[in-house]
């Protein structure tokens, strides 16, 4: 089947094609799913290399699951997020958590380059966010990332984390409060002081 035709197919339909030996379906699934899987794993682990290992393992499990995939039972993305969540949890239990990147590690740029300064501020903000996320309890971090960065709905998160919807709401609310508290002392450093004063 042509690549353009496959682009309109659902994840589940592509997985069924893959299970019947369609290589184009495999390529389409890789291109479609890997950014989300890798992005989620990277946020959870704050380590690119380790996140790639987790994402690869999750995709590998998807390929192996393909022939037995039960149509209509679960969304492919939801299933993948759940696998990534479990893999990350296992790793975090097994190892000492890696130190988050410090602000000093951000690349230096010339002071007179406005665009570069804006990039530096953005990099600082992301680094601060990663540090703050890293300080959250595991379940709160997972729920917050799924809700506010991956854009999943609460029922989807409940399915991924295998908890109730109310528990998801509670986790994300607590996580947001903790995040706001952790980042509160850095408002000026992150360039939010002026914005807050103006709003």
């Amino acid at each position: 089947m042509a690549f353009d035709d496959l682009a309109d197919q659902s994840d589940e339909a592509l997985l069924q094609l893959y299970a019947r030996g369609d290589r184009a379906a495999a390529r389409t699934l890789v291109l479609r799913l890997s950014p989300r899987v890798l992005g989620y794993a990277t946020r959870l682990l704050a380590d690119r290399a380790e996140a790639e290992d987790v994402a690869q393992e999750a995709m590998l499990r998807l390929w192996r699951m393909a022939p037995e995939w039960r149509t209509g039972e679960a969304q492919v993305t939801t299933w993948l997020y759940r696998v990534v969540t479990n893999l990350v949890t296992d790793r975090q239990r097994a190892r000492q958590r890696r130190q988050a990147t410090t602000l000093d590690d951000a690349p230096e740029v010339a002071d007179d380059a406005p665009a570069a300064v804006a990039q530096l501020i953005e990099a600082d903000r992301m680094a601060a966010l990663d540090r703050a996320l890293d300080g959250l309890p595991d379940r709160q971090r997972q729920a917050l990332i799924l809700r506010h960065i991956e854009g999943m709905s609460n029922p989807e998160i409940a399915e991924i984390m295998q908890i109730g919807v109310e528990a998801v709401e509670s986790l994300t609310a607590r996580a947001k409060r903790a995040l706001a508290s952790a980042l509160g002392g850095q408002r000026e450093e992150l360039g939010y002081a002026d914005v807050e004063g103006g709003s």
Partner: protein, 138 residues
């Protein structure tokens, strides 16, 4: 350290915490700065995908069903001419045996009479007669 304050509407606000709108903006930025997979990583995934791809379902090879007509047709194609000759000979032999046509009677009669005229105690029938029996005049 932030200090938690309760509002009149029951909501809570942490003094010194990041403004909720700023936090939402920060999270929205994070959504758009997702780690993009490298070409090397994508190729690793593809290698896995191809290596674990199930073989296309093998269609069992069922030999075509052969009916008795096809078998007969095959035989006729292969052995038609010899079989026809053999069948004709068989039918002719059977007919001669049962019907005993008159045209053959003198031949067999001559043979049996010749055998009966010999003055011996043994009755013999020459199924392959000597040639001089037929060459004699009268």
């Amino acid at each position: 350290m932030t200090k938690r304050l309760s509002g009149a509407d029951g909501s809570h606000k942490d003094e010194g915490a990041m403004n909720p709108k700023d936090l939402d903006d920060l999270l929205a930025s994070a959504r758009h700065t997702r780690a993009e997979p490298s070409a090397e990583f994508l190729s690793r995934l593809l290698v896995d995908a191809y290596a674990n791809m199930p073989e296309p379902a093998a269609v069992p090879v069922v030999p075509p069903r052969v009916g008795w007509r096809a078998v007969l047709r095959g035989w006729l194609n292969d052995f038609g001419a010899p079989a026809a000759g053999l069948a004709c000979a068989t039918a002719a032999g059977l007919w001669i045996g049962f019907a005993q046509p008159a045209t053959l009677d003198p031949v067999t009669g001559a043979l049996t009479l010749a055998a009966a005229s010999t003055d011996t105690t043994e009755e013999t029938v020459e199924l392959i007669p000597r040639l001089d029996t037929w060459l004699g005049e009268g």
